[in-house]
Symmetry: C2
Subunit: 397 residues, 2 copies
């Protein structure tokens, strides 16, 4: 029988994410394409002890249906930590536990976006967020990202041209894919612009604690006096992505609507992972754990920057992240990295072609994303030497 999919499915192209995944599973490929945290650092022994304990001692809480908004003690723990670490003030009815931050974005899209609504995004930006908006028919407008975040002059221009903009999506700290970070000063300027234009911002902050220059920049949410920020947080990069725990912090009316949408989406987030994260935060020292992650990613990032300097053509532009998992290169030529990837994969090297992170994925781009968190310190030089050779060869032609 002929399958007639809904119109909204035409708005999402599954190819970019599928490609990333495929490059990631071939063990012969040195893949800079994925977005995984370093699995060697998972606190699995502690989580094993916790899981065994909560399942024995709290069978009802860990296995029965829970509540849509999240496991209440965990909500309180997250709120306390948000306050301590990010200076965010949040009441229990202003937080919703989600199945990863991805779900937070999808639900925000579902409750806010009508077909044809304008959503402004960093460009390049996280494909999962763009697909969430696209899947509800949003018209995306990209604002060029600079080394220090979104270009605010262009943002203001676009807001003037699109006074009905429904939402702005941004990753102010250690952005995916660029690895760019907005300064504190620029964040305040950003906030004053959105205050002026009265527009909601989805602040996506999965890498907020993974800075490695010692500077913890304030979240937009921490100075959100006007309830304009819908803040998405995640335990994927600081604890475990497989547990699928994220959260949205926003005013009660937004959280209520999100909870209604979540009830329809999956009733609630799996409770055992929430209990595990809750016990981990209460029993163990997550700050010490995060410090370990920072040191590891700092070392890998700096190694990668050294290798780029050594092996890549001099004419290439690349970002110098102060946190997160990624850096970004621009070949500054007319080479289409989405064509070049085939040649690289043949030589057992993978990156993510820049097109995947653009509002228009059908044009050619000379950019690419490199991940350092999931690649070993041995493979980084080996892989980048190979990639550098390919790039030099291409740029010579």
């Amino acid at each position: 029988m002929q399958i007639e999919l809904s119109n909204r499915m035409n708005n999402i192209d599954p190819k970019p994410l599928k490609d990333m995944f495929v490059y990631g599973i071939d063990p012969d490929i040195i893949s800079f394409a994925c977005g995984n945290p370093d699995s060697a650092l998972f606190p699995n022994a502690q989580l094993s002890e916790i899981a065994a304990r909560v399942l024995l001692e709290m069978p009802v809480q860990s296995l029965q249906y829970g509540t849509t908004n999240g496991y209440a003690p965990f909500i309180n723990t997250v709120i306390k930590r948000l306050n301590e670490v990010e200076k965010i003030t949040c009441a229990p009815n202003e937080l919703l536990i989600t199945s990863g931050a991805q779900q937070g974005m999808e639900l925000i899209a579902k409750i806010l976006i009508n077909e044809g609504d304008t959503v402004i995004v960093d460009e390049p930006t996280f494909i999962g967020a763009m697909n969430a908006f696209r899947s509800y028919g949003a018209k995306l407008i990209g604002i060029p990202l600079r080394d220090d975040g979104m270009d605010l002059d262009i943002l203001e221009q676009k807001l003037r041209e699109n006074p009905k903009t429904k939402l702005i999506y941004s990753i102010p700290t250690a952005s995916n894919p660029m690895g760019s970070t907005m300064s504190e000063e620029k964040r305040k300027e950003f906030y004053s612009i959105i205050k002026k234009y009265r527009v909601f911002v989805l602040e996506d902050n999965p890498y907020g604690e993974l800075y490695f220059d010692g500077i913890h920049r304030p979240t937009l949410k921490s100075f959100d006096t006007e309830n304009l920020i819908l803040y998405c947080g995640s335990f994927s990069k600081i604890l475990s992505p497989g547990l699928r725990i994220g959260y949205v912090c926003a005013q009660k009316e937004i959280i209520d609507a999100l909870a209604t949408a979540k009830q329809t989406a999956d009733l609630q987030t799996a409770v055992l992972p929430q209990l595990m994260a809750n016990e981990y935060l209460k029993t163990y020292d997550i700050n010490a754990h995060i410090e370990k992650l920072r040191n590891c990613y700092k070392e890998k990032c700096y190694l990668m920057l050294d290798c780029i300097k050594t092996y890549f053509p001099e004419t290439i532009y690349y970002t110098k992240p102060v946190g997160g998992l990624f850096l970004w290169c621009d070949l500054m030529s007319d080479i289409d990295t989405n064509q070049l990837i085939n040649k690289c994969v043949e030589q057992k090297i993978a990156y993510v072609p820049g097109y995947a992170f653009m509002t228009d994925i059908n044009k050619p781009y000379s950019t690419l994303r490199l991940n350092y968190s999931a690649v070993s310190k041995e493979k980084i030089p080996e892989g980048l030497e190979k990639l550098g050779k390919i790039l030099k060869n291409e740029l010579r032609n």
Copy 2:
């Protein structure tokens, strides 16, 4: 700032599900309102042993990002069991692991339904499914449920009147809320109708193994030669709802579209619960566990039927389930059970008013749903005696 929600959010009323939850948390209320399995029967000691083991021995598989379609060994285990228990033949690329069956329904709605599309449903039926369809703008048409399932004459009539019907939703075994079950013969007749009209059916089967009359009726999917059935299964009622593990079995093209939607929804289902369910199925005897559940629910259901006979007014109609968690009463009068519930809650008794399960929730209904799985054998007689008194008193007026 004024919050302008998307139009689709106007289609869902959060009240019914919220009410159910509220009645469930007051410990002084004897609540027949929830849909929880009996938590005394969770195999928590075995799951504790398993969780501790997989986290120690398989840290990457249990904590790293996995794949959108599900943990591959678990997919194979589910397929093997579907084949053994339900005689369903399914290839690995025809199955998607979801965050509970609820997510399966929401994703099916997302990939198939355009604003205004017709979806035919059992009536009364599961509110979570209706809300999934409503949230994408579906027009719902209810087909009256009889003791043995959907009225097929009316179904055929509605299909004739609505030749563009996008989907039929049905729970053929131990339906929620009625507790009605379709005979094997009627299932075949149902299938021949949908074959004639070429329409997809979402077969929702969370209670399929929880029959207690010894008769395992075949799933529609087991004789689906035409790829018309999208089958949603769940481990919520036979293992644990808090783990949030369900699945969709359908042809590859549907699964591919669902996977694209799932990637946008939450990337993937939490992996630890998948590993736990997989190990449980491989290490322990789930059939023996299910037999225990059947015996427990049979005993509670029969106790409830006895109490209804003893305490309820004789004029009341009620179903006599052969499986599942629920039975259904009709007061056969003009009493609106959605008004009556307030009086009952004052007297510390709760049920779910029938309106919650109807396509039009704004009319008065004289029906109500009673759950027996989550209420203790001591509380069932106590609660139904009280409820019977209230009903007798009301019907006398």
